[in-house]
Symmetry: C3
Subunit: 203 residues, 3 copies
């Protein structure tokens, strides 16, 4: 995989892994639980995507470099959790950053595997939200994606959709990738700050 | 896939998606959460089956038509949830209908993929109950299949077993398919109504 | 598969299935729920491994013999649960035995499928802990692996690591396999007895 794609993917793994390790700390799991939950969250979405794409062994198992970010995340949380916990919503911020990057890289991986643009967008969303759903299900919470504060799936859908669209128009490149990721992240954070809400499930 | 198999499969997706969107409404999720949970429930069992069968990209991702029933279900629940909630057990009824159809179509897909009749029955059960288990796990409930009211897994097993059996005897056809599905649905509903119960897990 | 590998694998399925059926009994599930939960726990880790390895239909579906241990486990728990519940930690003991055996056989299967030794160890851990995580998630508990009593993931990691290491050094054989499994089981049980604990997730 090109460096331009590997770097945001590994960054996404790191951000999600931090969110997992922070949740582990909040739930008083031990350091091994922190490493494991961070690994599940960081790699879960991509493994789900690769298993669905049926393209052989998921890259997280093929390329040992994917195991580095969760280890770094567990160490960072071990030493700095007491610092970052002072700020509100640190977990949600890291989660948003991971989600934003994965909505782009997940869609790209699916396009590279030959999926059509619609299916690739959906797999991008699966990659972007899958890790977080695994984190919350395993920690016995209702997944964040279903809890009301701010928009979650809509930014992920926009990120995956824009990636597929710019790629289809042949406008996709490094600038577009980062622009989309920053937009998705900003949308999530702004919607969280101003408590934007989608309509309820029933009138 | 033949129309005779596609129609009940899509109907099954729709019924399960309604059960997911109704649960989303009951839990006060927003409309996006309703769509996502309905999609998970409607497509989850089939994706699980296709991933286990290892037959390439699951058909839910290959054929965009599978995304239509969850959208319709979310819209229907949005407008009519307040109507249907007046009746008892609407969620359970839709769940039973989805389960009945999937116990037949799930087994057929596995047979088509070349599995032996025993393994195909088990995959039929996985398809039939998988979506509901995903729904309840994601919504942080103990899956319905383990909760005591009425029989759940036994009708699914009977449906998958009869499908495999009639197919083995070469009696399988459109009439048999619908007869089995109706039988499974009826068995589930009757067992719910009269609170039939399997023996406990221990003497 | 060779008998020397099949026997410990089936024993692992049996031990895990007993832990699932015991949990089902504790939660007042019925006999079908006991069989299903035992099956999920016994076969879940291996199915997860085979799906990730992308080596065709998981062996649990290919070889019907894998369905025997969960049936035996459900029957045993049905008749003897009231006996074994007198002893403390019966569920944890069976869980530990399953985990110990799977940390060895899971790693072997991954090595046989051509994975490198690092990835094979990680898949060994996935096999060893996956079934238990599925059991606890489905029964709506925080997985044991994250709960503080005794060490869990560390013994699994040691078992998988030693299996990969001895295999790499060409020292692996029947004696090594059982020695590693017994060591992992002993480590888990001793850590449980003396309440060894890993450091917390944050300083």
């Amino acid at each position: 995989m090109a460096w331009t794609q590997l770097v945001p993917d590994l960054l996404g793994v790191f951000f999600f892994a931090v969110s997992g390790s922070l949740l582990a700390q909040r739930r008083s799991f031990d350091i091994v639980g922190s490493l494991l939950l961070g690994t599940c969250v960081g790699l879960g979405g991509g493994i789900l995507r690769d298993v669905i794409l049926d393209v052989g062994v998921p890259r997280a198992f093929d390329s040992p470099v994917y195991l580095v970010p969760p280890v770094v995340a567990a160490v960072v949380v071990y030493f700095f959790a007491h610092v970052v916990q002072r700020f509100h919503d640190v977990l949600l911020t890291f989660d948003a950053a991971g989600m934003a990057l994965f909505s782009v890289t997940g869609t790209l991986v699916a396009l590279d595997a030959g999926m059509n643009h619609a299916a690739a967008s959906i797999l991008g969303v699966v990659t972007a939200v899958g890790g977080g759903v695994i984190r919350d299900v395993v920690a016995n919470d209702v997944p964040q994606i279903f809890r009301a504060r701010g928009l979650y799936a809509i930014p992920a859908l926009i990120g995956a959709g824009l990636t597929a669209l710019t790629s289809w128009l042949d406008w996709f490149g490094l600038v577009a990738a980062w622009a989309v990721a920053v937009l998705v992240f900003a949308l999530r954070m702004v919607s969280l700050r101003y408590r934007w809400e989608a309509p309820p499930a029933a009138r």
